[in-house]
C-alpha cells in the first residue's frame, strides 16, 4: 500500500506525464473532491493523463496537465483571435484554430441591432470571447464582455498577426512575462494575445512590429533570463 501512495499526486506534481500515466488513484482518496482540468481523464478509480505535459496542481484540489499545442480546444471565457472565413445570413464563420469553425453572431457586438450589423470581409482578424462550447455544436464567440460592453473586443485593424503555440500564448498572458517586460522598456507597441496561439502586434513603426514579433517567436523555448538576454541582444543589434 505504501508503494502505491508513492505514486500519489504530490510526487507527480510538476513532473512530466505522458498519455496513459496514472496520476491519481482515487481508491485511497475517499471523501475528497478533486477538480480535473484539461489533459486528465477519469477511468474508474484511476485518473490518467491523456496529453503529454507537466502535471500541475493548484490549491485546494485542482489538477491539470500543462502543455503547449498548435491546435486549440475551445474553452469558455477564453479570449481568442479569430479570422473571418465566411459569412452567412447573420453569422460569421470564424477560424480559431479549433477542430471546428466558430460561429460569431452578427448581433454579438455592443449596441448592434438587426439594422446596423457590422460587415467584415473574409480575412478580418477579430478579438473575441468564447461563450459556448457545447459538444456537437460549433463553438460560439462574442465580441462583448458579459455585461454587453465592447471592452476592447472586435476587429483588429492594421498591425501584424502571427501564429505561435498555446503554451507561448499563455506565457505571454501571465502577469510577469519577461519578453514583453524587456521589450516594453524600449519599445512602444500594442499587443493582443489570443489564448488559441495567435498574437497580434501593432506599433507606429513597422520596424518595431517586426522586432517584437520576432522576439516573441524566438522566446518559445527560452527561460525567463534567456528571454531577457535575447531581447537585449536584439535591441542592441537594432540600435547599432
Amino acid at each position: 500500500m505504501d508503494t502505491k501512495v508513492s505514486v500519489s499526486p504530490k510526487s507527480l506534481i510538476d513532473q512530466i506525464v505522458v498519455p496513459g500515466d496514472v496520476v491519481l488513484d482515487l481508491s485511497n482518496m475517499t471523501n475528497q473532491t478533486i477538480k480535473l482540468g484539461s489533459g486528465l481523464r477519469q477511468d474508474g478509480d484511476a485518473i490518467s493523463a491523456v496529453r503529454a505535459g507537466k502535471l500541475s496542481y493548484s490549491k485546494p484540489n485542482t489538477y491539470w496537465v500543462e502543455s503547449s499545442h498548435k491546435r486549440y480546444i475551445p474553452r469558455l471565457e477564453d479570449h481568442v483571435l479569430g479570422i473571418v472565413v465566411d459569412y452567412k445570413a447573420e453569422n460569421f464563420w470564424v477560424d480559431i484554430k479549433g477542430a471546428q469553425l466558430a460561429l460569431l453572431p452578427g448581433l454579438a457586438f455592443e449596441g448592434v441591432t438587426r439594422r446596423n450589423m457590422p460587415k467584415f470581409e473574409v480575412g478580418t482578424l477579430l478579438y473575441a470571447r468564447v461563450v459556448k462550447t457545447n459538444t456537437g455544436m460549433n463553438p460560439e464567440l462574442s465580441c462583448t464582455d458579459a455585461s454587453g460592453k465592447a471592452a476592447l473586443f472586435g476587429p483588429l485593424r492594421d498591425g501584424f498577426m502571427f501564429e505561435t503555440s498555446t503554451g507561448l500564448s499563455r506565457m505571454l498572458n501571465s502577469q510577469t512575462c519577461p519578453v514583453l517586460e524587456a521589450l516594453g522598456k524600449k519599445l512602444c507597441f500594442e499587443i493582443a494575445i489570443g489564448i488559441n496561439g495567435r498574437v497580434w502586434v501593432n506599433a507606429t513603426a513597422p520596424r518595431s512590429v517586426i522586432i517584437v514579433a520576432n522576439a516573441i517567436m524566438n522566446s518559445e523555448s527560452l527561460s525567463g533570463t534567456q528571454q531577457r538576454i535575447m531581447v537585449e541582444k536584439l535591441l542592441a543589434k537594432i540600435s547599432d
Binding site: 479570422i83 478580418t124 498591425g159 501584424f160 502571427f162 513597422p206 517586426i210
Partner: protein, 441 residues
C-alpha cells in the same frame, strides 16, 4: 464546403497589408533585408545520392537513383535524366494527395529546365551500349515542409544529390560482347556523374505592382506577392533557365536587375554546395579506407561499430570538431573518470582482451583528407602527431563506452608493435599494395 474551409491555411488582411507596408520601408517580417537569403543547410544520407536541404523552414529531400534502360529512339547514345516531385500532404495542408498538382508539375519543370536543358549533367557518358543500354538517372524530390520558396530548396537538393551520386561501374563483355556486366561496389569503385556546371535557382517575389523585389520569399510573402520569377544561373555568369509564369507584369529593367542579382549570388551558393559535398566525399573516402582492417581482422567487429559512430561525429573539418568539443567538454570529463575506473578493472580481469584493443582503433578513422593521408604515409606512422589534441580527447571519449581500455597512451605505445600492420593495411591504396605484393613474389 465547411470542411474545406476548415482545412485551409488562412491569411489575414492584417498580415497581407503589413507585409506590403513593411516592404515599402525595405523591411521584411522575418527581419531580413530585401535580398537576404535564409539559412541554408545541406545534409547527406548514408547512401550515395541522397540529400536533405533546409532553407529556413522549408525542408526538401532529394534522392538520385539510376537504372539501365533502353535509350530513346531519337537519342540512342545518351542516357536520360528525369525529375519527379512529390508534394506530400504532410508538408502543407493545401497539397492534396494523389496526382501531382499544378505547382508540383511546375516545380519539376523548372528544375528540369535548369538541370537537363542546360546540360549540367553529361548524359552522353551515361551510355553503356549505344542504342541498347543507357543509364536512366531519376531524381526524386520530396517536399517535407513548406516554408516558402520550394523551387530554390528543391533545386539545391537535386544538385547536392546528383553531386554525391555514384553509379555502379559496368563493362560490356560476354561472348558476343553485347552483355553488360555490372560491377558491385566492392569489385570496382562506383563512378560519379559528370557534372559540367552547377545551375542554381533563385526565386524573386514581386510586390506592389512589381516595384518591390525580394529574394527568397517565405510562405507568408508567397501568399501576398503579386508575381514571382525564378532565375537559374551558374557561377560562370550563364543564365540557364528563367521562369516567370505570367502574373503581374514588371518592367524590363527590373528583370535585368534580378538577373544580375542572381548571378552575383551564384558563386556564394555554389561554394556552400561544393564545400558540403566535399566534406561528405571526404568522409565517405575515410570510411572506405577503414573497410580494410575490418576485413583483415574480423574478430573485432564489435567495437568497430562504435568507432564508426564516433568517426562519423568527428566529421572532417577541424573547426567543426572544435565547436563540438566545447559541448562535449562536460561529457568528456565524466567519461574519462569512468574510463579510468573501468580500465583498471578490465585490464586486471582480461589481459587478452586488452591486446585486441588497438586493432579496433585506427588512426585514419580520424578526420583527415586524402592528401594528408598520403603525406603521413610517406613519413610512416607519424600520424598521431598531426592530430589536434582536441580530437584525441574526443576520440577517447567516444570509444570509452564499449572499448574502455584503449586510452590514448596505450594506443600510441601499441602503435609500434601491433598497430603498424593495421596502419599500413588501412592506408595503402590498392595499387601500391599490389605492386609490393608482386615484388615480394
Amino acid at each position: 464546403m465547411e470542411g474545406r474551409l476548415a482545412n485551409m491555411w488562412r491569411l489575414t488582411v492584417n498580415e497581407s497589408k503589413f507585409v506590403e507596408t513593411a516592404l515599402q520601408s525595405e523591411l521584411r517580417v522575418d527581419g531580413r533585408g530585401l535580398y537576404d537569403y535564409r539559412k541554408l543547410t545541406i545534409k547527406f544520407g548514408k547512401e550515395y545520392g541522397s540529400s536533405e536541404v533546409q532553407l529556413g523552414q522549408t525542408h526538401v529531400m532529394g534522392f538520385v537513383t539510376a537504372q539501365l534502360v533502353q535509350p530513346y529512339k531519337d537519342r540512342p547514345n545518351e542516357g536520360s535524366l528525369s525529375i519527379f516531385t512529390e508534394f506530400s500532404p504532410m508538408a502543407d495542408p493545401s497539397f492534396e494527395p494523389g496526382r501531382p498538382g499544378e505547382s508540383a508539375v511546375e516545380l519539376g519543370r523548372i528544375i528540369d529546365r535548369g538541370l537537363r536543358e542546360s546540360r549540367a549533367v553529361d548524359t552522353e557518358s551515361l551510355c553503356v551500349l549505344a542504342g541498347k543500354m543507357v543509364w536512366s538517372v531519376r531524381i526524386d524530390l520530396h517536399i517535407l515542409d513548406n516554408g516558402g520558396n520550394l523551387v530554390d530548396a528543391a533545386n539545391i537538393a537535386a544538385l547536392a544529390a546528383l553531386m554525391t551520386f555514384r553509379r555502379p561501374d559496368c563493362t560490356v563483355g560476354g561472348e558476343n560482347s553485347q552483355d553488360v556486366i555490372i560491377h558491385s561496389p566492392e569489385e570496382r569503385e562506383p563512378l560519379p556523374l559528370i557534372i559540367h556546371h552547377i545551375p542554381i535557382a533563385f526565386t524573386f517575389g514581386f510586390f506592389n505592382k512589381g516595384n518591390i523585389v525580394v529574394m527568397d520569399p517565405t510562405y507568408v510573402e508567397e501568399a501576398v506577392m503579386c508575381g514571382r520569377m525564378t532565375v537559374t544561373v551558374n557561377a560562370n555568369g550563364d543564365i540557364c533557365a528563367i521562369q516567370k509564369p505570367g502574373e503581374e507584369g514588371v518592367n524590363q529593367s527590373v528583370i535585368l536587375h534580378c538577373l544580375r542579382l542572381a548571378s552575383s549570388r551564384a558563386a556564394a551558393t555554389t561554394k556552400i554546395i561544393r564545400e558540403e559535398v566535399e566534406a561528405y566525399n571526404r568522409e565517405k573516402n575515410l570510411q572506405k579506407v577503414k573497410r580494410h582492417p575490418t576485413m583483415a581482422k574480423s574478430e573485432v567487429s564489435g567495437p568497430m561499430v562504435v568507432v564508426k559512430e564516433g568517426h562519423k561525429k568527428s566529421t572532417a573539418d577541424q573547426e567543426k570538431a572544435a565547436e563540438r568539443s566545447r559541448e562535449d567538454v562536460e561529457r568528456l570529463n565524466l567519461s574519462s573518470v569512468e574510463l579510468k575506473g573501468r580500465k583498471k578493472q578490465e585490464a586486471a580481469a582480461s589481459p587478452a582482451n586488452f591486446k585486441g584493443g588497438p586493432s579496433s582503433w585506427d588512426p585514419y578513422t580520424e578526420a583527415m583528407d586524402v592528401d594528408s593521408l598520403k603525406a603521413s604515409l610517406a613519413s610512416k606512422g607519424a600520424s598521431p602527431v598531426t592530430k589536434s589534441p582536441i580530437k584525441k580527447k574526443m576520440d577517447g571519449s567516444e570509444n570509452t563506452q564499449k572499448d574502455g581500455e584503449s586510452s590514448m597512451e596505450d594506443l600510441t605505445e601499441d602503435l609500434g608493435k601491433d598497430g603498424e600492420l593495421t596502419l599500413k593495411d588501412a592506408v595503402k591504396p590498392k595499387k601500391k599494395r599490389k605492386t609490393k605484393a608482386v615484388k615480394k613474389v
